[in-house]
């Protein structure tokens, strides 16, 4: 029954076909990337690498499945047919060890530069952090240092579930958590970093288009994990951002006069952080 080989062939074709279809349907495919023309353009870098690996694995997939289907088509049992007697082939073993080895090691080294740019602590922008983002079941608490540029003072601006930044500016965020693990995931920038209680993890990125983008919690954090949705608001200009900050500060002072306890002051003020070895000595030094 050589026709079984068609099942494998058709399945392979449909797998490839579904990827090809997806690329032409914006409802299926990768989200519009908004980290492409900005100076850091991490999103473009990751999409480029994804497409490269997709092309290589796709080619290997097609060739392997063709070989498998061909073998099933060509060599079904039939009366009188005798299988070849072979225990293997040394040269073939060497060939199909070396070629994938070269490809895999190439892929590993080829990706290292991008990985270093996006995550190595030594590559982070030298500017001061724009904001602290702290995960807490099931919200993202955003804290700006305010006029004095220092976190943990009374002029800090507290925002819930909305991180405001300026277009094309490389922003540095201090990522924290007060309770359990969370993960800071911006699908349109292709950026993800877990937030770990007890650690302050620097995260940096930039965005090339003003607008509002969704911030996903990507690490299971409890019963309400699914609704831990935040937003990233990107302003066109610094002036627009300043305007927003002034009005937000004014609003905060109205509802909560300066000096009152901030909503999330418990774990993220410097006094606590200083006793916290992970954040104070490793990350900030």
């Amino acid at each position: 029954m050589r026709y079984w080989s068609l099942l494998f062939l058709v399945t392979a074709a449909l797998c490839v076909g579904s990827f090809v279809y997806a690329m032409f349907d914006p409802n299926w495919w990768l989200l519009h990337n908004v980290s492409v023309r900005s100076p850091l353009h991490f999103g473009a870098e990751i999409d480029r690498l994804t497409m490269l690996v997709l092309a290589i694995t796709g080619a290997v997939f097609v060739l392997t499945m063709l070989a498998l289907s061909w073998a099933l088509w060509k060599y079904p049992a039939s009366p009188g047919r005798v299988a070849q007697y072979s225990h293997g082939n040394h040269k073939l073993e060497i060939v199909w060890t070396l070629i994938p080895a070269v490809i895999l090691v190439f892929l590993a080294f080829y990706q290292m530069g991008s990985w270093a740019d996006i995550k190595f602590r030594s590559r982070r922008p030298k500017s001061a952090p724009l904001a602290q983002v702290t995960g807490r079941q099931f919200n993202w608490l955003v804290r700006y240092p305010g006029v004095d540029g220092k976190f943990g003072t009374t002029d800090d601006l507290h925002v819930i579930n909305n991180l405001h930044i300026v277009k094309d500016q490389a922003v540095l965020i201090d990522l924290k958590s007060q309770d359990v693990l969370h993960s800071f995931f911006l699908p349109q920038i292709r950026l993800k970093q877990d937030a770990v209680p007890g650690m302050t993890i620097p995260v940096w990125f930039d965005v090339d288009t003003p607008g509002t983008y969704e911030l996903v919690c990507a690490e299971l954090c409890g019963w309400g994990h699914y609704k831990m949705r935040g937003l990233l608001t990107v302003h066109e200009t610094q002036a627009e951002f300043n305007e927003w900050m002034t009005s937000a500060l004014a609003e905060q002072n109205q509802t909560q006069p300066a000096g009152a306890t901030a909503p999330d002051a418990q774990a993220s003020d410097p006094a606590t952080t200083a006793t916290d070895p992970a954040s104070s000595t490793v990350e900030r030094s």
């Binding site: 994804t50 080294f109 007890g198 774990a267």
Partner: protein
């Protein structure tokens, strides 16, 4: 039976490896399964099995009965785990709608008119994974097939430690019980995922399942782990000391090699998991702080003293659980290798490279755990080295795949149900292996980590891989185990439906994951970028396919039950295969062999030119001057 000598494998007693305990002194001139040795009275003892029902079927020390026990409990939990998965799928396709049966069952408890509460969704995927990994895939592959096949395939009467073997099965029962009971305790079953990351799993008020369910979950995994440790020690000892005369290590079938290497993995990795689990238990119960940092707390409670490190648990957990990934695939690879060779009527292509590839996977398997933690906050420098080791571990898998295709190439392929599932395994493992490269590449992983891409990947390996191999093994060894043939036609229909619905269920997960669909969310449509017709369609399509896949398994259940009662009686060697288990009756007698067989060559002498039959059992010398299979790849290339 010819007595012409084959110089390479049968030139005299010195060519026969006697490292094994010599039940039967080697006698190469009168080989064979037939009880013709009048001089070895020892081997003609009758070995009657226990007659008492309890000692025979319940507290049995016979490896075959224990294997069947693992198989039956594993298949029952397969159904449980599958149903949990269907409820997960239902919620993803049609969030918060009433689920057939489940909603009516839980109505009084949920008090939500049949809507699933979000924490119940978290319980579903947590328990689905835990049941499938700890109660189904590992116990069926190593516990059922390993137990049943190792002594038979190496020509031993039983395991080295039969009582330990019994204990390893009965340690599963406390695990079964606490896991099932955990659904009924206040707060319900665990919901921290099968990875049980602290602090979510440690703070009792972080989520309902962490109140009590998590403690029971930890105890369940602890018992299952202890069971596996006992099994692995037994398998290692058995393979090293109880091989029949002539059964050199490099004459063992791939199934035995894979079980042996898997047992080594378990013996080295499980103690680490056990200690991590105990530390988490202590954190939860007596207030230690292994994993809780300073200043963390939930629900506005005063935090504990702290001083621990959440990432420590992840390191310990993955130091076990990455090797566990291989524990769940290596035995599958071994079984598939044997099945492919049998039904291609062709020697396994590259036997030694296959063995070395497996050993390489096992060794490298201990050096790649960090690839689960690229985005965890672990120093990114480490991510770079783990990326390299992870890329390298893809290599032995690639070698194995090419060798499987090489085995088919030029064969005389018989499309039995077992063969179809084994071929399906190869095809699905190609997809699962290639999709792994995306996650191994750290920059790409930044985007797809914790999305449905990884869910697709792991199901291609664990369902398309391990579970297809379980099905293949079931169709292949069922006649040996139960003495009855399964219905082949039903088996092929089962394969066809399972293969199609499996791909329809899991392939689109890669695409939906690339889009950014996170895993473990009760309602993805909270996010606008997912609340569109494309994502809705894909999720609904996957759910319908999953339901069909579940329904297709009814065919297997029917086939197994009907064949047990009224299947055709199985001959000793229905597939005309070489390995030793086929040299005894179906099912084998209490102590497996009337006479301990003598082994003359490796397991893969199919279609040897000049032989009358296209297979030569390992108990039968080669008639012609065929090259010694053990040396084949070096001398015959």
């Amino acid at each position: 039976m010819s007595k012409k000598k084959s110089p390479a494998s049968n030139s005299g007693p010195e060519s026969i490896d006697l490292v094994a305990t010599s039940h039967a002194p080697a006698d190469p001139v009168s080989p064979g399964a037939a009880p013709t040795h009048q001089d070895h009275a020892h081997d003609h003892h009758e070995h009657p099995g226990p007659t008492n029902f309890l000692t025979r079927y319940v507290f049995a020390t016979d490896h075959k009965v224990i294997g069947i026990q693992f198989l039956v409990s594993g298949l029952i939990f397969f159904i449980v785990g599958g149903l949990l998965a269907l409820a997960v799928r239902w919620q993803l396709a049609w969030p918060w709608t009433r689920i057939p049966v489940l909603s009516s069952m839980m109505e009084s408890q949920w008090q939500t008119k049949g809507q699933m509460p979000p924490e119940f969704y978290n319980k579903l995927f947590t328990m689905h994974a835990s049941v499938m990994i700890f109660f189904v895939v590992i116990p069926i592959l190593t516990g059922a097939f390993g137990n049943y096949l190792i002594p038979l395939m190496i020509g031993a009467r039983d395991m080295a430690f039969p009582k330990l073997n019994m204990l390893s099965y009965w340690f599963m029962w406390p695990a079964f019980i606490v896991m099932l009971v955990s659904f009924t305790v206040p707060g319900g079953a665990a919901e921290a995922g099968w990875t049980a990351y602290p602090p979510l799993s440690v703070f009792r008020h972080s989520t309902p399942g962490s109140l009590n369910g998590q403690t029971l979950w930890l105890m369940g995994v602890l018992f299952a782990g202890v069971s596996s440790i006992m099994g692995s020690i037994n398998y290692i000892t058995t393979v090293l000391t109880l091989r029949a005369p002539g059964m050199k290590m490099f004459r063992m079938p791939m199934t035995v090699w894979s079980m042996f290497i898997t047992a080594l993995l378990q013996a080295f990795a499980l103690p680490v998991l056990t200690s991590a689990i105990i530390m988490q238990l202590l954190d939860r119960t007596i207030g230690t702080n292994f994993f809780i940092p300073v200043g963390a707390s939930v629900a506005n409670e005063p935090g504990p003293v702290g001083g621990g490190q959440p990432l420590l648990f992840q390191h310990l957990f993955w130091f076990y659980s990455h090797p566990a990934v291989y524990i769940m695939i290596l035995p599958a690879m071994g079984m598939v290798s044997d099945i492919l060779s049998t039904f291609s009527r062709k020697p396994l292509f590259g036997y030694k490279p296959m063995v070395f590839a497996m050993a390489a996977i096992a060794l490298l398997g201990f050096l790649v755990w960090g690839h689960h933690m690229f985005q965890s906050g672990m120093n990114p420098l480490l991510g770079a080295t783990f990326m390299l080791s992870t890329m390298v571990i893809a290599l032995p898998s690639a070698i194995k795949t090419f060798n499987w295709i090489g085995t088919l190439w030029g064969g005389s392929i018989q499309f039995t149900a077992a063969m179809l599932f084994a071929t399906g395994f190869v095809a699905m493992f190609v997809i699962g292996g290639l999709s792994g490269i995306f996650m191994a590449a750290t920059p790409i992983d930044i985007h797809i980590h914790d999305t449905y891409f990884i869910v697709g990947h792991l199901h291609y390996v664990l369902f398309g891989g391990s579970s297809f191999a379980i099905f293949a093994g079931l169709y292949y060894w069922f006649p040996k185990i139960f003495g009855r043939m399964l219905d082949e036609r039903l088996g092929k229909i089962h394969f066809l439906l399972t293969f199609i619905s499996f791909n329809c269920t899991f392939f689109l997960m890669h695409i939906i994951g690339l889009r950014g669909h996170p895993r473990r969310v009760a309602n993805p449509y909270i996010y606008q970028f997912l609340d569109n017709p494309g994502v809705h369609f894909m999720n609904e399509f996957m759910t319908v396919s999953a339901l069909l896949m579940g329904a297709a398994q009814l065919i297997l259940i029917y086939n197994v039950l009907a064949s047990l009662v009224a299947g055709k009686r199985a001959p000793d060697n229905p597939w005309r295969a070489n390995t030793l288990e086929w040299a005894t009756s179906s099912p084998p007698p209490h102590h497996n062999f009337a006479t301990i067989p003598t082994v003359y060559h490796a397991a893969y002498e199919y279609s040897v030119p000049g032989e009358a039959e296209d297979f030569i059992p390992q108990t039968q010398p080669l008639a012609n001057l065929a090259p010694s299979p053990a040396l084949a790849t070096s001398s015959h290339a």
